[in-house]
């Protein structure tokens, strides 16, 4: 039994179907990437895990079904969600943004905050700064930090490198690797940048127009010629 099991998942916005019959399994302590173009259904997949969209099919974490649970219950089950950095609270300070993530793990708020500040010392230095005045990389740190404040067992990260400079992407990848290596945290990221995803994840899943096109390790997918042309640019 995998740590996260997604079986026959279809997701809907009203009557429009955004995901169709998706199966993904993620082992404990693994970093997995879901790669796809705009509109492929990557964010919808993460929203579905978080209970933010209507779904059919099942999602299980550690054997417990998340389907039909409220977002709050899903966070309490140990799922932390770092949405795209544009989804921060722009006129609130770094500290207040982080504290919004602390509601479900109040008893551990101080410890989790220290963990976030250890991982991203720049956030500690700028804790009073409103996030709309920050750089893209700093905002991405806040987004990750807010998700970590929930004390997750599984971290979902939506497009962490979108619109960021290569150096910042490298720093984000290092932070995620460090998180995974030091704490054994299971991480699922979505990415358009396939090369970034390949450098970070042990397994990749390719989504196209709401359907899972291919899954495999970085080596397996890297040797597929058609996929190479479409996603990796070589």
């Amino acid at each position: 039994m995998a740590f996260l099991e997604i079986e026959g998942l279809s997701a809907y916005y009203g009557k429009a179907r955004a995901l169709h019959n998706v199966d993904i399994a993620v082992e404990k302590g693994e970093i997995v990437a879901v790669v796809g173009a705009n509109g492929a259904g990557k964010s919808t997949l993460l929203d579905s895990i978080m209970g933010l969209t209507a779904i059919k099919g099942d999602i299980r974490l550690g054997g417990e079904s998340l389907a039909g649970l409220s977002s709050r219950a899903i966070v309490e089950q140990g799922v932390g969600y770092a949405p795209e950095r544009f989804n921060l609270f722009p006129y609130m300070s770094v500290f207040d943004n982080l504290m919004v993530g602390a509601f479900t793990a109040r008893d551990e708020a101080d410890r989790n905050l220290q963990h976030v500040f250890d991982l991203f010392p720049r956030l500690a230095e700028r804790r009073s700064q409103e996030t709309y005045t920050q750089s893209g990389g700093e905002r991405q740190m806040v987004s990750l930090g807010r998700a970590l404040m929930t004390g997750p067992r599984l971290l979902l990260v939506d497009e962490p490198t979108i619109g960021l400079a290569p150096k910042v992407c490298h720093d984000i990848a290092e932070s995620l690797r460090r998180l995974n290596g030091e704490t054994g945290l299971t991480i699922v990221i979505t990415e358009q940048n396939a090369n970034f995803a390949m450098s970070l994840a042990s397994h990749l899943h390719i989504l196209e127009t709401g359907e899972l096109k291919m899954s495999g390790t970085a080596d397996e997918l890297g040797s597929d010629e058609e996929l190479n042309k479409a996603y990796f640019g070589h």
């Binding site: 899903i74 609270f89 006129y91 609130m92 504290m99 509601f103």
Partner: protein, 318 residues
């Protein structure tokens, strides 16, 4: 959000100055300030709901009206003491606030604003038609018991009420609840994604807003000693509340208070020059220019000015 000693010092200075004010100003000015105090209460109530959560209410007089009419009817028609009619009016308004909340479960944005506007219009029609023997119909009621008499006493009463509400809200907004309410206004979906129950949080905001509106409405009617549907459920009254909150600085506590005082005195000083509704063109123009220059309102202008002054003084130092 931490509490800084400068904030506490400013609150104390403000309260001391306001308590000493009756010694230095005329009774006419005190009466103007009484209206500003009540407008500040209503603007704070609107801001808790709309300024924080982003659910723009066009029906706030509906809530104020429930508080005012309930207390007026209970005391004037049924002989309830004011000490009992006001708490009962607040409870009735909170029940009304729950009704107000229901549309927010399904709709937001301009649709929510329109539904709340319909609430106000509905209330305006109902108080005239349903049991006019109780509500006084189109003419309303006069001779309602007042809590105290005289400009000075009413000034202290309205100021005390305003400052207690403002301080209580200031403290509430420093808690996690306040942080979460502000976050809802910026990105409700993201708040849900962080594991917060936004329905409960919004209900809390609606209840707090209704509590303040009901309390303010009840005290207001017992200050005026009269009530009439046309004065209460009036679009000018509604927009004065909203503009006070916005022009002063939404999503703050001090902002709606600044806006209420600014608007009340502006309209009062314009009265001799422009006795008719033309005054509203002037204040509309000022509001427009302010929004274009600084959408965060007078509070932000003052804050930036203070910041520049400190920077200049620091630069001039040794």
């Amino acid at each position: 959000m931490g509490i800084r000693w400068q904030h506490i010092a400013l609150w104390i200075a403000f309260i001391v100055v306001m308590l000493a004010l009756p010694e230095f100003v005329s009774k006419g000015t005190l009466r103007t300030i009484i209206f500003a105090n009540f407008l500040a209460i209503f603007a704070i109530s609107w801001d808790v709901l709309s300024g924080r959560t982003g659910y723009i209410s066009f029906g706030h007089p509906f809530l104020i009206g429930i508080g005012a009419y309930t207390s007026a009817i209970l005391s004037y028609r049924f002989g309830f003491p004011v000490a009992a009619s006001i708490p009962l009016a607040v409870v009735a308004t909170m029940i009304g606030g729950t009704l107000f909340f229901l549309p927010a479960l399904r709709i937001r944005g301009s649709y929510f604003a329109l539904v709340t506007l319909a609430f106000m219009e509905l209330m305006y029609q109902l108080v005239q038609v349903i049991r006019p023997d109780l509500t006084g119909g189109t003419r309303g009621m006069s001779g309602i018991e007042t809590i105290t008499r005289g400009a000075v006493n009413n000034y202290y009463l309205s100021f005390s009420l305003m400052v207690i509400i403002a301080l209580a809200m200031w403290l509430v907004m420093k808690t996690r609840l306040g942080t979460a309410l502000s976050a809802i206004g910026m990105n409700e979906e993201s708040v849900r994604g962080s594991g917060l129950d936004t329905t409960k949080l919004k209900l809390a905001a609606f209840m707090i807003a209704a509590f303040i509106a009901g309390l303010g409405g009840a005290f207001y009617v017992h200050y005026l000693g009269s009530i009439a549907p046309r004065a209460l459920f009036d679009i000018n009254f509604l927009f004065t509340i909203i503009v006070a909150a916005l022009i002063g600085g939404a999503s703050t506590i001090i902002g709606p208070m600044i806006g209420a005082f600014f608007l009340t005195f502006l309209l009062e000083y314009l009265r001799p020059v422009l006795p008719g509704a033309e005054r509203y063109f002037i204040y509309g123009g000022i509001a427009l220019i302010l929004y274009m220059y600084q959408p965060k309102g007078i509070y932000e202008v003052a804050k930036q000015g203070w910041g520049r002054l400190r920077a200049v003084r620091a630069g001039a130092g040794p």
